[in-house]
């Protein structure tokens, strides 16, 4: 497993997006504050562990293909942003507002949400 990204990371935690960094075996290297707040999983609980432990429902075959594409082409890859295709569930007590979800893999295999 690669070395985790130091916590707290001012830049990653200041963003209004969920950001995770995973290695090719889906080990979590960073879990930003937005994800901590919105998933209920703390950085200390996630980092160094496999995403599979917490989110077994993710299609890891597809994720692996997307990561491979990103690394091979040195270009971001994207998931469909429709509400029916969430990468991981984010609990919401929705009454009238909506939340846009999307996930993308970029060159350092970070995923943002």
């Amino acid at each position: 497993m690669k070395k985790p990204v130091d916590y707290p990371n001012i830049l990653l935690d200041a963003l209004e997006h969920g950001i995770m960094i995973v290695d090719e075996e889906f080990n979590v290297l960073y879990w930003n504050q937005w994800l901590e707040i919105n998933t209920g999983h703390a950085y200390s609980n996630m980092v160094g562990k496999s995403l599979l432990t917490f989110y077994p429902e993710i299609d890891y075959r597809t994720l692996q293909r997307k990561i491979r594409t990103t690394l091979r082409l040195n270009s971001p890859t994207f998931y469909d942003a429709s509400l029916t295709n969430r990468f991981i569930p984010i609990p919401r007590n929705k009454i009238s507002s909506s939340l846009l979800y999307h996930a993308a893999a970029s060159n350092d295999f970070s995923l943002y949400y």
Binding site: T62, R65, S75, F78, D80, T84
Partner: protein
């Protein structure tokens, strides 16, 4: 009224050659990443206006089918729009191939279409821009299902006066996957493309 940028025969030859390289690159990447082996046609290049673009799309895309139309913007020293068009039937075949299920659901199909568009745009545009010694940024793609072949809406084209159309077709017979690709760039970016090709010509003949 913006001044029209004139491309010489040399400019078009260089662009055609660069796109041939880009298309070869895309075919190899799809074989490697998606295990689909096929061919891509030699790209056609045309300089047109909006009316000509609409006519070109009507002639290229069948009117009787519904299509998944994925559009992805790219920006930087060279900017434009990458459009990938496949019929709904082909989109199901693609979802079937990538997700290995008999009947892929809507989310699988959308995701598969976006994934293939990603690979096509990244390989083709990146190869082109690499040859031109520049870097571009890709934006989030979006997919729409459109009945017929009116793929460009009037409001999307209001500010365009001159457009370069680069189009090609991909065919992966074993997976029954084929589609049309359009790369569009306009106005100031056409001048930018011409300048970059001039630099490339200087490199080639230095």
């Amino acid at each position: 009224m913006l001044k029209r940028v004139e491309f010489s025969g040399d400019h078009l030859d260089v662009l055609r050659e660069l796109m041939n390289i880009a298309v070869g690159n895309a075919t190899a990447s799809i074989a490697d990443l998606l295990q689909a082996f096929g061919t891509m046609h030699i790209p056609k290049i045309a300089i047109s206006d909006i009316k000509g673009l609409k006519q070109y799309m009507h002639e290229t895309i069948p009117s009787e089918s519904s299509h998944y139309v994925t559009k992805q913007l790219f920006g930087g020293p060279l900017g434009g729009e990458f459009i990938f068009v496949i019929t709904d039937e082909v989109a199901i075949n693609l979802g079937n191939h990538l997700y290995d299920v008999e009947a892929p659901n809507d989310a699988d199909i959308y995701d598969a279409v976006i994934e293939l568009t990603n690979i096509l745009s990244a390989t083709m545009i990146s190869r082109l821009t690499e040859e031109l010694n520049i870097k571009v940024q890709f934006f989030l793609p979006s997919t729409q299902i459109i009945a017929g072949n009116d793929l460009i809406y009037l409001e999307e084209t209001a500010e365009y006066s001159q457009i370069i159309i680069i189009s090609t077709q991909m065919e992966f017979q074993n997976q029954n996957i084929n589609g049309h690709i359009f790369i569009l760039t306009k106005d100031a970016m056409i001048q930018s493309l011409k300048d970059l090709i001039d630099q490339k010509l200087e490199e080639l003949y230095a």
